[in-house]
Symmetry: C2
Subunit: 208 residues, 2 copies
DNA sequence: TTGAATAAATGAACACTGTTCAGTAAGTTT
DNA sequence: AAACTTACTGAACAGTGTTCATTTATTCAA
């Protein structure tokens, strides 16, 4: 009998329905306005129903944050075409910054907000804790290792080089998203130009 | 008659009372648990009273965030003793990181949370928008200018050098505070050591 | 086909939140 | 002593995440 299979499928579809409604609300209206009640109203179900598919709001937003990582990963696909690991590194950083500027809500959720991380707290031994972040960082580290192997960079510590690159670009993007760069009195184009110039300095600084 | 003076003084004292209660609650229990009702209960006043001294919760947290900048400024006083601007720069970055590690709640409020910035939004023409941030950044820029004047750094763009230094240290501290470095599987001492090593690289990278 | 078992969905409540405002109480002035 | 001013508050509004007994719908076995 295929009933249990159908039920399982329907359960997944319902989860998807909630997730899509929540995601579009989050991207369009922001985190604050994306309440369980609002999501429930949008999909014409009771608020309590959502709790049959997600443990709590944090888990729901963990799922949305994973969609963000999927999107970022997609943007990084073209990197595979770049032979030179140093150029690949530079381009990866550019894509990262552009992702942050073009998708501030996703970026916020992925790298700034507390919500999604709450749902993987205190269950550290679970095989996957923050899979998205780990794989992205792992990808960066592998590029750094290639750069080291080819003698393209000053340091030989791939982990530290990765931390260096990540924290630099994250610093710029996150200060911008959380409105700490207002004093520079620049429009978004100016901010982007500044970031790209700074990025070039950041990358050139580690070149041998 | 000194009555109006006394009244004014009492008004300031009441503001101070609210601010101190809110600050200690915020530092000890975090932002979420520092509700207007909880603050009111602590000082044994009605919640409505707080609104006679602060426009809204954002304005109250803007005031707390200013206390954070005061504290950071205090930690930076010893920098005046350092003659070499490049060493002063390095030490400033160390103090900044240490402040972030030792006062995560303050740091969060000053450089990550939305709350305090909401209260200076859409009133841009007001003489002071984010005084604390601007003066700290200005201080950094002045050190950079000194470094440039003495020919100690590669670039001659003080603003870009400042952005570079700030975003790097902010990136590290903020990723740590918002729990995005968990995958490194390091204790707080390890994180601090890593940050200080990375910092040395960041600073050495711009040295001529 | 009918009754029992199972699964899904919900209404209503709980305990909170920030914020407003009419009304009260206290202090000051005339 | 009455009028005015300032300080304060109770109660309400409109929202929040979350839980749980109860209802509704579906599936299974006799």
């Amino acid at each position: 009998m295929g009933i249990t299979e159908r039920k399982e499928r329907e359960k997944l579809e319902m989860r998807e329905l909630i997730l899509e409604a929540a995601t579009s609300m989050f991207l369009e209206e922001g985190y604050e306005k994306t309440s369980i009640r609002n999501i429930a109203e949008k999909i014409e179900y009771s608020p309590a129903t959502i709790y049959l598919y997600f443990k709590d709001k944090d888990e729901l937003f963990f799922a949305i944050h994973e969609l963000g990582f999927q999107k970022l990963l997609l943007e990084m696909v073209p990197l595979a075409q770049i032979e030179d690991p140093f150029q690949r590194l530079r381009q990866m950083a550019r894509i990262y910054i552009e992702f942050g500027l073009n998708n501030p809500e996703y970026y916020d959720l992925m790298f700034i907000m507390r919500a999604p991380m709450n749902s993987i707290k205190e269950q550290v031994k679970a095989e996957q804790c923050w899979e998205g972040g780990e794989s992205t960082f792992g990808f960066l580290t592998s590029i750094m290792e290639e750069c080291i192997a080819k003698g393209l960079v000053k340091s030989d510590d791939a982990m530290m080089l990765s931390i260096y690159a990540w924290t630099c670009v994250h610093g710029m993007v996150s200060l911008n998203i959380r409105e700490r760069l207002g004093m520079l009195e620049m429009d978004s184009d100016g901010i982007k130009a500044l970031m790209m110039r700074t990025l070039d300095m950041i990358i050139d600084n580690i070149r041998k």
